[in-house]
Symmetry: C2
Subunit: 346 residues, 2 copies
């Protein structure tokens, strides 16, 4: 499919080269675009120093431009998504890779997935503790195994078999995330099993799941998500990020999407698959489906102040939505415009 | 919601008691029904001794009647699903609990999930190695944690915290499954990453995932699935069974469903969520959606001879489909008729 698209695209370029450039602009320059997020949560300007805000904006921009550079030079959306996410995994600012939050028992257990919209192939890993870039391992699961999801020790054994080094636990440690766990543990005297009470929004529990969705010049959409999950989660808890149709989804026929927030809601609603099905089965445009999902369905389901979503379709239309006070986000659209935002209403 | 339904039902019974029994038969006797499967695969009468066939039929019947007894005495669909599945997990005939297949490294790694259609709550476990009844642990994840999915050591730690004993690995061992692994390992000289080649249907790789879907007199649908996965799978591989919208789904508004087969296809298609969305967003009846999914969409996706599905809706309509030569299956419908089948065309 990708090879065929390549050939078609090359033929298109030849025709465009021979004819009038302007008339063939659309086919000669099929849209490319990328959208990313670095997590949704209670984020307000007053909690942020100017220096920290600048650091977030600069890292988001760096992730965007890394992904976009891949698309610009004719690379695939899969490579673009991976490049953008690795920048955020390597930064201690976000809850993914280095800087991941801690489980109840003080471990970093990370989840990630990547999906190829051209063939619905997907790879995911969950509950990995020593992988520098979980998104890269998810990619290997997709490309080098017949499976879609590997977890825990088995996933790390597979990483080693692919020549990927295991990092010491200390690599992932940040004081900020450790302190978040200590605060959560202190609060725990008042234990409850109600999700709404235990994870009231993502404010006190660490946020910063990262994700990217890209459209390449071959018309292929890819999406990826990477996360440390929820602060103080039970050991072994897997969220929505590594699961196709929940936190991560890509389908050329509809859209690519990546979610962030209290993953349990996304899993129970199969939220990204739902966006795709509203487009495919009800003919909704991307923006309507994304807005409905986050600001209506999720809220009515109890998920007020619980998360956000980024998405794009095969025309390069971009949609973002969140029902929290902020979401680290940015995009480079089909016209090449670069946008980075953090707060609501910005 | 369940309490409200209980009250409404009791009120209904009182009214029915006071009025004409026949006129109120529908409301006085809301439909109850249960459908189960014990795996789809290459099953033909010639591979089966009469004694083995009788044993399968008898165990399926026992699972059905265990679940139906719960419904009959006014129990919930969740309890019915769990009861039916535990019978099959405890039997060495099926690839779930005792009798689970072996991973590449010779381990039994089991997955299970249960979902409540009245509120979309769900619980799942994956990659557990010492749990007698993974479906019971999935139920505890749903009811006693704020999470939806726990895997590996964390899931077993949670089991222990709930007073569930860990079984020695030997409990799950069966000679038949061990021999299946040895045959698969022998074949492996010719390694390939193509799913279609590595898992050509489920014939040589063990089948027997079990599942149940039930409708109780309160109008609530529940679904559950339990499995040992694929013979010779990589350690840590998680399939579709423990994932909401993939191998297991329940939603009172549409249907409950449980899948069996090569899970990777079900995960990439979010197959059970797709059935539900075709019903909800396109108005398709249950049978049309189930048939389309297994005999059209899945086949076109490369999943010829790869699996099957059982489902029921809130009226108690039952649908089953499989694109293999057989599926262990059975149901007790809203009229109380008991049916058990194994082969195609039976």
């Amino acid at each position: 499919m990708r090879i065929l698209n390549c050939i078609l695209f090359s033929a298109c370029m030849l025709i465009a080269g021979a004819g009038a450039q302007t008339a063939n602009a659309a086919s000669a320059n099929p849209p490319i675009a990328i959208v990313i997020h670095g997590g949704a949560g209670t984020i307000s300007p007053k909690d942020m120093t100017p220096a920290l805000e600048a650091e977030y904006r600069s890292t988001l921009r760096q992730a965007l431009t890394s992904g976009y550079a891949v698309l610009k030079r004719g690379g695939t959306s899969l490579d673009a998504v991976q490049a953008a996410i690795e920048v955020m995994e390597d930064s201690p600012l976000f809850n993914a890779g280095r800087g991941s939050v801690f489980t109840h028992d003080g471990k970093n257990e990370m989840d990630a997935a990547i999906m190829d919209g051209s063939n619905l192939k997907a790879g995911g890993v969950a509950d990995v503790q020593h992988i520098k870039n979980p998104i890269a391992l998810a990619r290997l699961v997709m490309e080098k195994t017949p499976h879609v999801l590997l977890v825990a020790d088995g996933a790390e054994q597979f990483a080693v078999s692919q020549g990927m080094p295991l990092m010491p636990a200390g690599y992932f440690y940040t004081q900020k995330r450790w302190d978040e766990l200590q605060r959560a543990l202190k609060k725990e005297g008042n234990k409850t099993t109600a999700l709404e009470e235990q994870y009231p929004g993502t404010s006190a529990h660490g946020f910063g799941t990262v994700g990217a969705v890209a459209l390449d010049r071959y018309g292929n959409i890819a999406a990826g998500t990477s996360t440390g999950g929820l602060t103080n989660k039970l050991d072994g808890r897997v969220g929505d990020s590594p699961l196709t149709g929940d936190g991560t989804y890509a389908n050329n026929a509809t859209c690519g999407a990546s979610g962030t927030g209290t993953g349990e809601y996304f899993m129970r609603l199969n939220l990204t698959k739902d966006v795709s099905d509203l487009m495919q089965y009800k003919g909704w445009p991307l923006k309507k489906a994304v807005d409905y999902e986050i600001n209506d369905k999720l809220v009515k389901f109890g998920g007020k102040n619980s998360g956000g979503l980024i998405a794009l379709d095969h025309n390069g239309n971009i949609a973002t939505a969140f029902n929290t006070t902020g979401m680290y986000r940015g995009w480079i659209d089909s016209r090449g415009r670069v946008v980075v935002k953090i707060f609501k209403g910005e």
